[in-house]
């Protein structure tokens, strides 16, 4: 009686990417929910099979613009896992710095969007204003705001210049007071409490059942973090703690993310302090047949890459599993019984990233180059064009 279906999506202001959620509601209360994805599926897994190991890092970078470090990181670790090899120390430090920088920018991005979804545009603007500073840091370190192209099997592509380090540290220091202010403002706001506490609870049992990952599971009291459980990079050499809360509601997920940013800032600082001298690349000659698995803790949870090589310079299978793929199905456990207003923030609370979920980066056996000459010319033209425009306008 009186049931109706309310669509969220595919093109909806809630989501930057198209997905269709259909909520079956009675009045405002949700009794059933279903999702149709596939609006973002680009077949990356297949594409990746057509690229050389080196080129594939660019493909996986474009799985997701926000996780443009996590995927290459997991991918190069998968390649390095095929045969025993050691990455130089300096490369490990640089990788960690980039990964943590991405975590901060990703969490700030989420925080802003969450504010936007709640109609709290001031939080949105403030968080993204801070995020710009982090993007500046990344631009100084890698040369680009996103898609850093820093990773390569065996090490990193670019070194950090010593003269950049004080600039970067100063930038990071400058955001900490504002971030603290934002943290206090958000965690003590009574209206936010009313809106978020006890909403969309994911219990610990359900989190384990769904194999939920990252902040989504840590907010439910599942103390799992690849950085602790299976340390990579230099996470076993720096001092940081895992943020775990127990309620599993939207508020706790926000708390976990906000507090993690402070840990990440700590990690970045320690990495810069301890940054050793040395080579940044092990210089891999060729990759023997075999299979390797790389998994790292992305901002949204564990990113998982599986690579199988047959001894040529291309993978014959490259499997990508983004954290959202495991986190998204938890909507089944969290949304039913809530209202439509809450549904949006619950969906947002797992920090969904559909382009990751629908990745499918695949390498093709016939192996055509990703960027042929034409495309490269085009790209460089675009860059010049941009530069010209910026000069001209500002």
């Amino acid at each position: 009686m009186g049931r109706s279906v309310i669509p969220i999506g595919p093109y909806h202001p809630l989501q930057e990417e198209p997905e269709l959620f259909t909520l079956t509601v009675e009045g405002e209360r949700i009794v059933e929910v279903d999702v149709r994805i596939g609006y973002n599926h680009r077949g990356i897994e297949k594409l990746s099979e057509s690229k050389s190991f080196d080129n594939s890092t660019f493909v996986v970078e474009r799985i997701c613009g926000i996780c443009s470090t996590s995927h290459p990181f997991a991918y190069v670790r998968a390649v390095e896992d095929i045969f025993p090899m050691e990455v130089p120390d300096r490369a490990k430090y640089i990788r960690t710095i980039i990964a943590e920088g991405e975590r901060i920018h990703s969490h700030l991005l989420w925080l802003g969007l969450a504010g936007h979804f709640l109609g709290y545009n001031t939080v949105y603007m403030w968080a993204w204003k801070l995020r710009e500073e982090i993007l500046d840091v990344m631009e100084i370190l890698s040369g680009n705001r996103n898609n850093y192209a820093m990773f390569t099997p065996g090490g990193v592509r670019r070194d950090i210049r010593p003269q950049d380090i004080p600039v970067v540290l100063a930038k990071i220091d400058s955001i900490v007071p504002t971030l603290e202010m934002l943290r206090d403002a958000i965690l003590d706001d009574p209206v936010l409490h009313a809106r978020l506490k006890g909403v969309g609870v994911l219990t610990k049992e359900k989190a384990i059942e769904f194999s939920a990952l990252g902040p989504t599971s840590r907010a439910s009291g599942v103390a799992r973090d690849v950085r602790k459980d299976s340390p990579y990079g230099v996470y076993d050499r720096v001092d940081w703690k895992m943020i775990v809360t127990s309620n599993g509601d939207v508020f706790d997920k926000a708390v976990v993310r906000i507090l993690e940013m402070f840990e990440s800032i700590g990690i970045v600082r320690q990495c810069f302090e301890a940054l050793p001298e040395g080579p940044i690349n092990a210089g891999i000659e060729s990759i023997p047949p075999g299979e390797g698995i790389g998994h790292i803790e992305a901002p949204r949870g564990e990113t998982f890459h599986y690579v199988r090589s047959d001894g040529t310079n291309r993978a014959i299978r490259h499997k990508v599993r983004a954290p959202t793929f495991m986190n998204l199905p938890t909507y089944k456990a969290t949304i039913v019984g809530e209202t439509i207003s809450d549904a949006t923030i619950i969906l947002a609370s797992i920090d969904p990233c559909y382009c990751c979920t629908e990745r499918m980066a695949v390498r093709n056996h016939r192996g055509r180059l990703l960027y042929d000459g034409e495309a490269l010319v085009e790209l460089s033209r675009a860059k010049t064009e941009n530069l010209k425009r910026r000069m001209g306008r500002t």
Partner: protein
């Protein structure tokens, strides 16, 4: 519990079903089992050993279609990879999705991308491909070739 204990335990319980155990590194173990055994080996690892289900990888190999189920035992930092090999012409396997929620989506994905049939799957709808994608065309198979005549593969703006 250590890695040796886990492996010994698995060997004792499912000795008949295990075809091969390959310890690649301290963190990675690959176990090949008979396809029908996944129905009890999978739930055992997930529930009894308390492992986390990472994902499953389906691969189209020359020998047949292979599925790798990746499980992680975080406490001992061990990744258990259960390998099954299916017949290429008729890839059928028991679904774990009805028992373990986490397996639900990846089985749907493998069904449409590789054409593996999961018996008893609770929700065997399309996940990623569009509704008008033709049946019987599986993009991750090695023999996949372009089916859409209207596709344009040239550059040019």
């Amino acid at each position: 519990m250590t890695r040796e204990q886990v492996l010994r335990d698995l060997g004792n319980r499912f000795g008949d079903d295990i075809l091969d155990i390959f310890v690649k590194s301290p963190k990675r173990v690959f176990i090949k089992i008979k396809p029908r055994a996944i129905a009890w080996v999978g739930p055992y690892i997930f529930r009894e050993l308390g492992a986390r289900f990472n994902i499953a990888t389906g691969t189209d190999t020359p020998d047949g279609i292979e599925i790798l189920y990746h499980f992680t035992l975080e406490d001992i930092n061990l990744m258990l990879n259960i390998r099954v090999l299916l017949n290429r012409d008729n890839p059928v396997i028991t679904s774990l999705g009805k028992e373990i929620e986490a397996v639900n989506w990846i089985e749907r994905e493998m069904k449409e991308l590789l054409g593996i049939t999961f018996e008893g799957h609770p929700d065997p709808r399309r996940l990623l491909l569009p509704d008008n994608w033709p049946d019987g065309v599986y993009p991750l198979r090695q023999d996949y070739s372009e089916w859409d005549e209207t596709a344009i593969r040239t550059r040019g703006v």
